[in-house]
């Protein structure tokens, strides 16, 4: 199989199980709503009766900043709420990953919400463990990043014009993204081993490292291709939204629909990535 075949296969697998993206979207939609309720309430309480004219004294964005500044006393309690929600989101993400990998690697063509939740529960502990074991990898990631970005930093520090600084900064971001995808690949494959080969987390890491020793660059290029497509589509989406005006109800409705479509797209992209990795793994695991 050539790379395009893996992309095609992964794409087909993701599209046939598109429901998974819908499940994820729904869950995240609800969590997001819970997170924004206090802010939304404050905005409504403070600005819900703001009289609006053709030429307002202040742009609405500054009204928002103003009420944020006027309600700083609420910030501390809201921050605690956000931290709790973020911790919860970490655990939830592990759970949802379990469901997603479980269903994506399942030979069953049909997916159901129940099975998705069951897979989430089934793989939760091994996935959480794999995440904890990934922490030393993160340290290596930062070390490698610092080493590789050092020449860029040096180049930038000596520059007498702005361009080298900007270029070095872009290259650093690019380096960060490339390294992150490379390291991130490890965690994905570990989870494929956990689900597909019923391995425990530590054993899955060893198998993953062995597998990547032979297949790293091909898999990584697949990852990067999908990542590049996501970036390009995201930029296109932002440009499209920029053209629309939220001032009219119809415009706002379209923006809301497009925004949710974008979230679905990002979830589907994740699904496609897992699908491609899984296809590659299935085809090459014996080699």
């Amino acid at each position: 199989m050539i790379l395009v075949d893996f992309l095609k296969s992964g794409f087909n697998r993701a599209v046939s199980k598109f429901r998974l993206s819908l499940y994820l979207w729904l869950i995240m939609f609800i969590i997001s709503l819970i997170i924004i309720v206090p802010v939304s309430y404050e905005v409504r309480a403070n600005l819900g009766h703001l009289a609006w004219t053709e030429k307002p004294l202040m742009p609405f964005e500054l009204n928002l900043i103003e009420i944020f500044l006027a309600n700083q006393n609420l910030l501390a309690s809201y921050s605690v709420f956000i931290i709790i929600m973020l911790l919860f989101s970490v655990l939830l993400s592990v759970f949802l990953s379990g469901g997603l990998f479980g269903q994506m690697l399942s030979p069953e063509a049909r997916v159901s919400f129940r099975d998705f939740l069951v897979d989430g529960c089934r793989h939760f502990w091994q996935f959480l463990l794999s995440l904890i074991i990934f922490i030393p990898f993160l340290l290596i990631f930062f070390l490698v990043f610092r080493l590789l970005s050092a020449p860029l930093k040096l180049w930038s520090a000596r520059a007498v014009t702005e361009w080298p600084v900007i270029l070095a900064s872009w290259l650093t971001v690019l380096l960060l993204a490339l390294l992150w995808t490379a390291f991130r690949l490890v965690l994905d494959l570990v989870r494929i081993f956990v689900v597909g080969e019923s391995k425990r987390a530590m054993a899955a890491y060893l198998s993953t490292l062995r597998f990547l020793h032979r297949h790293f660059f091909r898999l990584w290029s697949l990852y990067l291709l999908i990542g590049l497509a996501v970036i390009l589509i995201s930029a296109g989406w932002l440009l499209l939204v920029k053209l629309l005006s939220p001032a009219s109800p119809a415009g706002l409705l379209i923006i809301i629909i497009l925004s949710q479509a974008y979230i679905l797209f990002r979830l589907l992209a994740r699904q496609i990535l897992i699908g491609v990795e899984a296809s590659y793994f299935s085809a090459r695991k014996e080699i």
């Binding site: 995240m28 939609f29 969590i31 997001s32 709503l33 997170i35 924004i36 802010v39 939304s40 905005v43 403070n46 600005l47 819900g48 009766h49 703001l50 009289a51 609006w52 004294l57 202040m58 742009p59 609405f60 964005e61 500054l62 009204n63 900043i65 103003e66 009420i67 500044l69 006027a70 700083q72 973020l86 989101s89 970490v90 993400s93 592990v94 949802l96 990953s97 007498v160 014009t161 702005e162 361009w163 600084v165 900007i166 900064s169 872009w170 971001v173 991130r184 932002l238 440009l239 920029k242 939220p246 001032a247 706002l252 923006i255 925004s259 949710q260 974008y262 979230i263 990002r266 994740r270």
Partner: protein, 700 residues
């Protein structure tokens, strides 16, 4: 006798100045207490200066002055014990001044003698005049004189000094072969009659204060360097054998001197032509506003010099357009620019010297990638040029009352920017890459943004606070720049455009080439407006008080046709004998009547002054409006209405006069609210949080 002595001394001073400045206008020189003659050589390989200086200081007071205080500002970068370093460290900014070996900056006087050769160095000690005292600071040198300088007498000091340019300085510095040199020479403080020397240490949150002087400065640099400096270049000589060039600059009646040198500058000159820049209609309009003749407003030609880094050469037109706008409007509104040149410097990269003002020279600051509708560098250019008016000409004490230059100038900048460019889009950049083409950012006027961001410091410090005594850098900058400007905008709206324009022009003209204080500004405001506005300055400048009036509660409900209960239906004398169980509304019969209650609150401590009221505009559904006024003295006030229609909208201060109000969002009420904007905010927030969650999910 005293007077005759003084005249003699002034004549001597004039004679010396004529020797030093052959081109200066006699008569003007005697007004100025200081004359400088400097010769400096830049040694780029060691980033150091070798210099000789002659200071002629004339005692224009009636005091006998026993000593002289000199600023040695670069010692602020000498070590971690300077007042600047300590203040920066307290604000967690110390790494900004942290230097490698050989990168610390300092200034060392190697010789200090009087004109008759008396060595004054043994009598020189570093002092720490500010609170809290810092005995380790070496930025103010007190030199005890062999005999006091009598009123009208002059003192001549001959100084040799060496200085090391700080690598990561504040407002001055170098990087590789690019240099920006400011606050670099020993400079006397300002002698204030009866109060002594006003000579402060170099502080983190403060700029400068000095006396008007005449400068003649010779600058020697490698010959491939392009040089820019305050004043006019009057001579250039080259020593080809040594590979050096010497530039001579001279300028009368300025109070500081800065210069820059870099091989990467392009030097471009243009002329500001008063006749071409201002249309007859504009002259007419401003003349009407100020009550002056057009002849009084005529703007002279000014030579504009731009030193721009080669990497920014595609932005030359943007720089000149902004400078022309600044020269035009500051000139028309406040008075013509009095000097013949203005030098605009795109500062050498990484010298830490951008966005800074010096008389007849200022630094801007730009980036290689710019967006058209983000008004940078324009805002910086207008602001820093504007300091030639507020700091350069009206030379207030930046240490003690920074608002007088920064606040007034921020206000002026905002006015010029609005009339020349309109609202500017907020910038959004990631790693130097502007994202305005991808994400729509709101367009705002400077005053709108300024009033909003200054809200958090309202209760932290009064605007009139010595610069180094603010709670922190944030409070300093937001108070003296933005809260002060917002207060001035409020005054303008309260007094009206015409009176305010005359206030500002009068203040500028009266205190040109002088050192006014806040009381002088207040006095001009009161005098020109014909009102006593002391309360305004007490509330908003001398105290840290929150000013927030609000519509706290609006209720409109249908008045019942019948009231339940026991009512007297007979004349008072017989009421106990006859009662009815219910009574119809006698006023309108079956017509619907709405009772509307509007509660106003004063949440802040600050309040309106005598004679001032807040207007309340009430709009009903049938389009009718009612106006009420509230003197705002009590903590709350209630207005009640009975009308056959419901209320539609209410505005407190509908004309938007009180921009100092820290929360304008609670100044209006509408049953409909701001339409779909709230939904739009909620949708955007939701989308943002969803993206965070998706990212978290994808990574974990």
């Amino acid at each position: 006798m005293k007077k005759r002595n003084k005249s003699k001394m002034l004549a001597a001073c004039l004679f010396i100045s004529m020797l030093l400045f052959p081109g200066i206008i006699p008569g003007l020189a005697q007004e100025r207490p200081v004359i400088y003659k400097l010769a400096v050589e830049l040694l780029p390989e060691t980033a150091s200066l070798q210099a000789k200086e002659t200071i002629v200081w004339t005692n224009l007071s009636h005091d006998y002055v026993p000593d002289i205080h000199l600023h040695l500002y670069w010692n602020a970068f000498k070590n971690e014990l300077s007042t600047l370093a300590k203040e920066a460290s307290r604000e967690k900014l110390f790494k900004r001044f942290k230097a490698e070996k050989g990168e610390w900056g300092w200034i060392k006087i190697t010789s200090l003698t009087t004109s008759d050769g008396q060595d004054l160095l043994p009598a020189a000690v570093f002092i720490s005049p500010d609170e809290p005292p810092n005995p380790d600071d070496q930025t103010v040198l007190r030199v005890v004189l062999p005999q006091p300088v009598a009123p009208g007498q002059s003192l001549t000091l001959n100084i040799d000094f060496q200085a090391k340019v700080p690598k990561n300085g504040l407002r001055t510095g170098y990087f590789q072969d690019g240099f920006f040199i400011s606050q670099w020479f020993p400079k006397p403080g300002v002698y204030e009659e009866g109060r002594g020397w006003n000579c402060h240490e170099y502080h983190l949150n403060s700029e400068f204060y000095a006396d008007f002087a005449d400068f003649k400065v010779k600058i020697t640099v490698p010959k491939d360097f392009v040089v820019g400096a305050c004043g006019q270049e009057v001579e250039k000589t080259e020593d080809l054998a040594a590979g050096r060039a010497t530039y001579t600059y001279a300028q009368e009646n300025i109070h500081d001197f800065a210069w820059t040198a870099s091989p990467r500058f392009i030097k471009i000159e243009r002329w500001f032509k008063g006749e071409e820049e201002v249309t007859p209609e504009e002259y007419q309009q401003i003349a009407g506003l100020l009550g002056l003749s057009i002849q009084d407003l005529k703007l002279p030609d000014v030579r504009m010099i731009l030193l721009i880094e080669k990497q920014h050469k595609n932005q030359v037109e943007r720089h000149f357009r902004a400078l022309r706008a600044a020269i035009k409007y500051y000139g028309l509104w406040y008075s013509p620019y009095p000097y013949q040149t203005i030098t605009m410097v795109d500062p050498p990269f990484r010298t830490g010297s951008g966005g800074m003002e010096y008389p007849t020279l200022f630094t801007a600051g730009t980036s290689v990638i710019l967006e058209k509708d983000v008004l940078s560098p324009e805002g910086v250019i207008i602001h820093e040029f504007g300091h030639n008016y507020w700091y350069g000409l009206v030379a207030s004490n930046e240490f003690e009352e920074a608002w007088l230059d920064e606040g007034i100038n921020t206000y002026s900048t905002s006015k010029v920017s609005a009339v020349a460019y309109g609202a500017g889009r907020l910038p959004l950049k990631i790693n130097g890459l502007p994202l305005g083409w991808l994400i729509k950012m709101p367009a705002v006027y400077d005053w709108q943004l300024g009033r909003t961001i200054s809200v958090p410091v309202t209760k932290l410090d009064p605007i009139v606070t010595p610069s180094w005594k603010f709670y922190n850098s944030g409070s300093y900058s937001l108070n003296v720049y933005y809260r002060a400007a917002t207060s001035l905008y409020t005054l303008e709206r309260l007094l009206g455009e015409k009176i305010w324009a005359r206030v500002m022009r009068t203040y500028h003209q009266r205190y040109r080439f002088r050192h006014p204080r806040t009381e002088d500004f207040i006095q001009v405001v009161n005098e020109v407006s014909g009102q006593n506005l002391n309360w305004f300055f007490q509330e908003f400048f001398y105290q840290a008080k929150d000013f927030d009036y609000a519509i706290s509660y609006v209720e409109t409900k249908l008045k019942p046709h019948e009231y339940q209960g026991v009512f007297d239906d007979l004349p008072a004398s017989t009421q106990s004998q006859s009662k009815v169980e219910s009574r119809k509304n006698p006023v309108r019969g079956k017509e619907k009547i709405y009772e509307t209650v509007i509660n106003l609150r004063r949440y802040g401590e600050a309040k309106l002054g005598p004679g001032f009221t807040l207007k309340l505009k009430i709009e009903f559904e049938d389009g009718s409006t009612e106006w009420r006024e509230w003197d705002g003295q009590s903590r709350w006030h209630r207005f009640c209405f009975e009308k056959p229609v419901k209320i539609k909208q209410v505005w407190l201060d509908p004309e938007g006069l009180w921009l100092v109000d820290t929360n304008l969002s609670n100044n209006s009420y509408s049953r409909l609210g701001p339409g779909i904007r709230i939904l739009s905010v909620t949708a955007n927030l939701l989308w943002l949080v969803q993206n965070v969650l998706v990212t978290c999910f994808s990574w974990l």
